[in-house]
């Protein structure tokens, strides 16, 4: 069988073998000892021709219920939003997607400039001075932030709110075992971080206070009250956020945050069953040289022309090896590009407009749904585009009833918070319509 990705003809092979003075390609594998040379044939499925493969992949994709077929109210860290067509057109340019990391700046100015612009846009939204070129995702960026805070402060205790995404906390717990961090979880009270508990736990040993706003429940944290607690003992204030919400919300930088992280997924990146998304990492100038991952900087060439390079590389693993600030190597450049295109498309006006639409629709939906007997708001805090409700019936039953109407219901909060059993988290973004909200209400009314 001929493979379309393998250009070597039999003639090529013979010519090359003769240059090497060997008869068979196996001679090139003779350095692999006999007892570990793989003798059999890999037990994986036989190859498929392209038309057959397209059918196969379509069938697999067809076994999934996509947003094109169903109405989804799921959020909890991954959101369905409007993605302008231009985003996919730009990231489909193969000069971008088939390139490696821009270590040869003379032939990578396009990528480097696009990332420089991305860094600027993230700084603008977060109110921070420095942003890197991106991280694996928001939750791993949060773990890295804990590491940076510990390294910068020389302390090991991390206070993290239980209103932070449960998976982000789970990753931090794994990371803490490696870095020797002591993680203390601060309970939530009425849907936000319990500030009394936070204050009580904060002490001389505290390297960082980590909160999320909008938090996992969709609620806005009182960052103005958290800042003095975080800084009282010279710890770092780390805020995880939703960049889309920052179109209208006061940026964490203005509250005095030292590190702001989050995921750019809401800005032009498909949910894709959870990845790849795109973490971002922004800091104050003071922490610039502690940042993990790649950073693009502006410079000039030999003729004085403006150009861009990867910079401050002395922090990174390929230079510092075991002394690096992080082991991170790749970033999510292509998704950072998608986010940059999104931020450009939406622009100064659009980012406010889309954020307002989210607030508006989510509040309308919440007000509409709590009129249903047995449906109650779980919290009474300001929220962005997500809110928690207590339902009249068990979450599993509601899920089933909704699915029958092609509605994907919210996130079952009982999964991570036993005390919130029977409550769900619903996301309502700008793509949901009044009609869809009515349909959801209709099903819940039927259950009440």
């Amino acid at each position: 069988m001929k493979f379309r990705y393998l250009p070597m003809t039999e003639e090529d092979r013979q010519e090359m073998l003769s240059v090497l003075g060997i008869e068979d390609v196996d001679a090139l594998f003779s350095d692999i000892p006999e007892n570990i040379r793989f003798q059999g044939r890999l037990q994986i499925p036989e190859p498929m021709a392209e038309p057959q493969l397209v059918r196969h992949m379509n069938r697999l994709a067809g076994k999934n219920l996509s947003f094109d077929q169903a109405v989804s109210f799921l959020g909890a860290g991954a959101y369905e939003h409007y993605i302008p067509s231009v985003v996919h057109h730009v990231i489909s340019r193969s000069e971008f997607y088939t390139a490696y990391t821009p270590y040869q700046p003379e032939i990578s100015q396009g990528e480097l400039q696009a990332i420089f612009e991305f860094q600027t846009m993230i700084c603008e939204l977060t109110g921070m001075e420095v942003a890197n070129s991106s991280m694996y995702d928001g939750p791993t960026a949060l773990s890295e932030a804990a590491g940076v805070a510990a390294a910068a402060s020389g302390k090991k205790k991390i206070l993290i709110s239980q209103a932070v995404h449960p998976e982000a906390r789970a990753i931090l717990a794994t990371q803490a075992k490696g870095l020797g961090l002591k993680v203390v979880e601060i309970p939530h009270a009425e849907g936000v971080t319990d500030l009394g508990q936070l204050s009580a736990q904060s002490d001389e040993e505290t390297a960082a206070v980590i909160v999320q706003s909008p938090n996992f429940f969709g609620n806005l944290e009182d960052l103005a009250a958290i800042e003095p607690i975080a800084h009282k003992h010279k710890g770092k204030m780390v805020v995880s956020t939703n960049p889309l919400a920052l179109g209208i919300l006061k940026p964490p930088g203005e509250y005095g945050a030292d590190i702001v992280v989050g995921d750019a997924q809401p800005m032009g990146i498909s949910t894709q069953f959870g990845g790849p998304h795109c973490g971002f990492f922004a800091v104050t100038k003071k922490l610039m040289r502690k940042v993990p991952g790649r950073i693009v900087g502006q410079t000039v060439d030999e003729k004085g022309n403006r150009g861009f390079v990867l910079t401050l590389q002395a922090r990174e693993q390929h230079i510092r090896r075991e002394k690096a600030t992080s082991n991170i190597c790749s970033n999510q450049a292509l998704n950072a590009l998608a986010a940059a295109v999104y931020m450009t498309a939406l622009g100064k006006q659009g980012i406010q407009e889309v954020a307002k639409l989210n607030v508006n629709k989510a509040h309308y939906a919440q007000q509409r749904l709590i009129r249903i007997p047995g449906v109650e708001p779980l919290f009474a805090k300001p929220f962005f585009n997500e809110f928690a409700l207590r339902l009249p019936r068990p979450a599993a039953e509601v899920k089933k009833a909704l699915l029958e109407r092609n509605i994907i219901g919210g996130y079952d909060l009982g999964r991570d918070y036993p005390e919130l059993k029977g409550a769900v988290l619903l996301a309502v973004t700008e793509v949901r319509t009044k009609e869809e909200i009515e349909e959801l209400a209709g099903v819940l009314e039927g259950l009440a």
Binding site: A99, Q109, G275
Partner: protein, 485 residues
């Protein structure tokens, strides 16, 4: 093309838009009525304001200032810059894969789960391991995941003395960095004159404090560690485990398996061996395979197959926990799966055979012109030293820059660290003999220029949009964002 290109902010003009949002179909309320006023932004973020055509022209122009595999030869060692198939890109964008939510009920994502399950199986077979997790986002995260499992394994046996991870001096920088982040001390073991792990030196550093040895095989010089069985025995007898860095797996598909070599844990870079695009730096994907001894420690969840279909299993009481949100970089998994289904068992074997033949052919042809520090048979990549040219005043960096004038991405340079003026060349199997011959001609021309007109190389590149950039000032006086002037 002009040397400088305006930033998107510099072509912004108030009032222009490149988006289209619907009017609100719910009663509109003032923001200040829904949210506390003090939590609202006072000054809008300075994002650009451009029309849709402005946007497209801007990014199209940027793309033209960028070199990808589709633009030309990219023999970047250890990065496996092979062709990124177009069908993979199409498939990953099917709504059934792109527009699904990680928390959807399992019964609504059976296709996604089946794909993950089959990919777990395929990668386990290819590597000779027992189970595979698809969660790690990249190779470096895979390394850290593997090391955290090794740590948990030793601790589960009450063995807390094992604080050291041994890495060869030719290892990727991520190996020692991952060891540190996992809470180990990295210990370096030297290579011998043949470029392989010095077994005698290894015996000296291995001991009761050894948690693991991390090894790339073939190593970063492109050489197969033929003593691997003995190395594995030494480490195992001392109570340590073996970690396989899969960065170079493109050399051994269907030819040799890490599991059979004695490795206990392995990561693969789907963005190298399995054709998912590098994306200008990412996203990647770094699945990790383990032998039975480490299965209890795998990150959760894993996909399993039951009577009622596929499901996520969290039933691993000794799990190290989670390493990445949701289910890994699923979009990359879709691409890698599509590739494996395209190639099948014979295709994958042919991939490695051709990759290795291409590399040996290049090495042989370049040998008369450049110093070849390790002239034995190589695998999918090999190293040259620029020592000969250095004596003529031409550095490897200069030669790399000269290659840019010929629309060729340079090899990896100055790595591995143990070779002076190193050039690490990996042609991959997707390049034709004509491309290889062209590269050979260009390299020979550069070798001649080094003798006859070294300034041509020293002043290169001559034909790129910008000349060499001042990296020193960039790092000393960092400008890492645009400021409104």
């Amino acid at each position: 093309m002009s040397a400088s290109k305006a930033l998107i902010f510099e072509i912004s003009k108030p009032g222009r838009v490149a988006y289209s949002l619907p009017e609100s179909d719910v009663p509109e309320a003032e923001l200040a009525d829904l949210l506390p006023k003090e939590m609202l932004r006072e000054t809008p973020a300075e994002l650009p304001e451009v029309s849709e055509l402005d946007l497209i022209r801007h990014y199209t122009e940027l793309s033209r200032r960028n070199h990808g595999i589709d633009n030309g030869f990219y023999p970047l060692g250890s990065c496996t810059m092979k062709y990124n198939p177009k069908i993979n890109e199409d498939v990953a964008r099917y709504p059934g894969f792109a527009k699904i939510h990680p928390y959807q009920p399992e019964e609504t994502v059976q296709g996604a789960l089946q794909l993950m399950y089959e990919l777990q199986q395929d990668l386990a077979e290819i590597t000779g391991m027992d189970r595979v997790t698809l969660q790690p986002a990249a190779g470096a995260q895979g390394e850290w995941t593997g090391l955290m499992m090794i740590k948990a394994y030793h601790e589960s046996r009450g063995d807390t003395r094992r604080t050291k991870v041994i890495v060869p001096d030719s290892a990727h920088g991520t190996n020692p960095a991952s060891a540190t982040v996992a809470g180990f001390e990295a210990v370096t073991v030297q290579s011998n004159e043949q470029g392989l792990v010095d077994v005698a030196a290894l015996k000296e550093v291995v001991g009761q404090d050894t948690a693991a040895l991390m090894l790339t095989n073939p190593n970063t010089l492109g050489l197969f560690e033929k003593d691997i069985k003995e190395i594995a025995d030494i480490v195992h007898q001392a109570g340590g485990l073996l970690y396989y860095d899969g960065a170079n797996a493109n050399a051994i598909l269907g030819k040799s398996r890490p599991g059979d070599m004695g490795f206990d844990v392995v990561h693969l870079n789907l963005h190298k061996t399995f054709t998912t695009p590098h994306g200008g730096g990412g996203p990647g994907s770094g699945p990790v395979g383990v032998k039975d001894v480490l299965v209890p420690f795998l990150p959760t969840p894993l996909v399993e197959k039951g009577e009622e279909g596929y499901y996520f299993s969290y039933d691993f009481p000794h799990t190290i926990g989670r390493v990445k949100a949701f289910h890994g970089n699923f979009g990359m998994l879709v691409r890698a799966y599509t590739y494996i289904r395209t190639m099948g068992p014979d295709g994958l074997r042919e991939v490695s055979e051709n990759a290795v033949l291409n590399a040996n052919y290049l090495m042989k042809k370049l040998e008369p012109y450049f110093e070849v520090p390790y002239p034995q048979v190589c695998k999918h990549e090999f190293v040259l030293s620029g020592n000969k040219q250095k004596k003529l005043g031409v550095r490897t960096l200069d030669m790399a820059k000269r290659l840019l004038d010929f629309n060729i991405h340079p090899p990896t340079i100055y790595f591995p660290l143990i070779v002076d003026e190193c050039m690490m060349i990996e042609p991959t199997e997707t390049e034709s003999k004509e491309t290889l011959d062209h590269f050979i001609d260009v390299m020979i021309r550069i070798a001649k220029e080094a003798e006859e007109s070294p300034e041509t190389i020293q002043e290169a590149p001559h034909h790129t949009v910008v000349q060499r950039l001042d990296e020193v000032t960039a790092a000393r006086k960092p400008v890492v964002r645009w400021q409104k002037g």
